[in-house]
Symmetry: C2
């Protein structure tokens, strides 16, 4: 049995589809008699106007769009997980798109979401995004936009972030407390704000503890997600070539790089933490299952997703009530998780 | 600047919204003169009809719905990854929902997707799903339905699966080839088809190799995803209590259980593979980073997602051409990945 549609009702009654549609939507230029005929038959055939039609009246699609750089990623899948749960409870549906760190694609996806008439858009920007005209387009369309994790400080909208600089600072201070002086940093790509902030936090921790900053101890990763594991191993190898007996610890911009690094050390019988300590970032589930387990920074991805959804729905309500929307920036707290890849575990 | 809408155009020209809408949609009961006025102004204000309106004409939402048990899961995030990429290329958007292994929620989500007028639906069923009336409802609505991974054999629709029984059979035969006779199985919950098939494959491998099946070597996991890691460690402990010197290897229903098991063995100085061999299932990225790395079954999640999307779009085309839709069941090949948790690595 096919779902009844306007056409069938129109055909049965000998009206035009337009008349039936107008009758169902209560337009004034359709006689009460016609309306009754249409509504009675619609009920008889238990016609349910699909939400695209309903949307024309309510101007609400009950759908939001989310763009993330990548899906196969513990941090992002946890954020999506809590966004989905929150929207589920509010009866909203979520269109998910991944930019694959590709600016052109991200831009195209924004246009698609706008053409779809979504009620709001949540984005974590790709590493390649410089031009932000597509974000301004969202704002100019009067659609609430929330940026999370990878943001652009100059865009006038609400933002949900971690304090990456502070988190990195605390992690490196812990390595210093453990007696490490020569601390290497496997940093992320040069552009993304969070990779810059983690580097700056690393640097500040050194200077605040009167340890001279040595640029030769800083190595850059290209940040290709799953390839970070391979890159981490390569950087560990290079670090051993450059500084074998002159490095005490490594702070990496993410966990996958730490895991690749540990993998190289395990294969080459370099003992962690005895010979070299290791501190990751993001507290991916995997850091818990490596041998030794890896100390890391918990970013509370679920809280980031939950807060992003919460702020979006707050702004949707303000918009509905024609109130002024005051943009907020929320900083989700991070915590240091101490495991076996660092020496004294302060609990 | 707010996006122009029908109302503004109507107001500016002094027509009713209905007239403007009908003019834009080319209804015959609007004069050519009116149409021209409306279309010219629409162009001038660069009005883009939103896709919900367009949908009323084309009856295509260019949106598909996907329901999976959980998002924070390497296997499912890889499937979603390839579904998103495939839909992206075809200009389709994807609404993603997670049932959290909850049948009632899965049922509600199907209704939401149907009310949304999605063009097609892809589902991997929750472990709790017995009643399939919600799936029949999709089929009765004339919306293409594709089941993948966790399916119900009795539903008349296309299905994309692995041959779980064969994959488990091959994995256990490999353990036997390695000289193991007392092989334990940490199985999944009693209901899901793939956990049943993996158990049956394990059992058949034993009998085909004249090894007596010993039910006391089979332990059940509740399959709560991330908790499997903890459960794996508990089951390993119990296995050592029950069979310490009388078990050679373990085949686990998924990798997370293998990883929890390995974690327990590492903490208790039980050497893998020397004292006991370990074979997982799914080839999660993590099996590559543990020490030792864990042999596993590659399910080719990306191929499952790609094929599911491919079949869906094929059926959408057949539907559009009013051709008969012939349901297909595709079996995606699996491969054994040999790592350090099993002895002789046959390449």
């Amino acid at each position: 049995m096919q779902k009844t549609n306007l056409k069938e009702i129109a055909k049965t009654l000998g009206f035009s589809v337009a008349t039936v549609s107008k009758a169902l939507n209560g337009y004034s230029d359709v006689s009460e008699k016609t309306k009754k005929l249409v509504l009675d038959l619609a009920e008889e055939l238990n016609y349910t106007p699909n939400s695209f039609a309903v949307n024309l009246r309510t101007k609400e699609s009950k759908t939001i769009g989310v763009i993330i750089p990548t899906m196969v990623h513990y941090f992002f899948s946890n954020i999506i997980d809590s966004i989905l749960k929150d929207c589920e409870e509010r009866g909203y549906m979520v269109i998910i798109m991944q930019s694959n760190e590709n600016y052109e694609l991200e831009k195209k996806q924004v246009d698609l979401l706008l053409s779809k008439g979504v009620d709001g858009i949540l984005i974590s920007l790709s590493n390649k995004t410089r031009d932000t005209s597509h974000l301004k387009k969202i704002i100019n369309s009067g659609i609430p936009l929330i940026l999370f994790d990878k943001i652009d400080k100059n865009i006038k909208c609400s933002k949900i972030i971690n304090d990456d600089r502070k988190a990195a600072y605390n992690a490196v201070c812990h390595l210093i407390k453990n007696g490490n002086k020569r601390i290497a940093h496997f940093r992320g790509a040069l552009n993304p704000q969070n990779s810059i902030d983690r580097f700056l936090g690393y640097k500040k921790a050194l200077t605040d503890n009167n340890i001279e900053y040595d640029p030769s101890l800083v190595y850059e990763c290209k940040n290709n997600n799953r390839d970070d594991f391979v890159e981490g191993a390569e950087l560990a190898k290079q670090l051993m070539i450059d500084h074998k007996d002159n490095v005490d610890a490594i702070f990496t911009v993410n966990d996958l790089i730490s895991i690749g690094t540990l993998n190289y050390f395990n294969r080459n019988n370099i003992k962690v933490p005895e010979e070299i300590e290791l501190f990751g970032f993001s507290n991916w589930f995997m850091t818990n299952v490596t041998t030794p387990s890896i100390s890391s920074v918990e970013q509370n991805a679920n809280k980031i997703g939950k807060k992003a959804a919460e702020i979006l729905f707050k702004e949707l309500e303000q918009k509905a009530n024609e109130e002024e929307i005051l943009y907020e920036t929320h900083i989700i707290e991070t915590e240091l998780i101490f495991r076996d890849s660092t020496s004294n575990k302060i609990k």
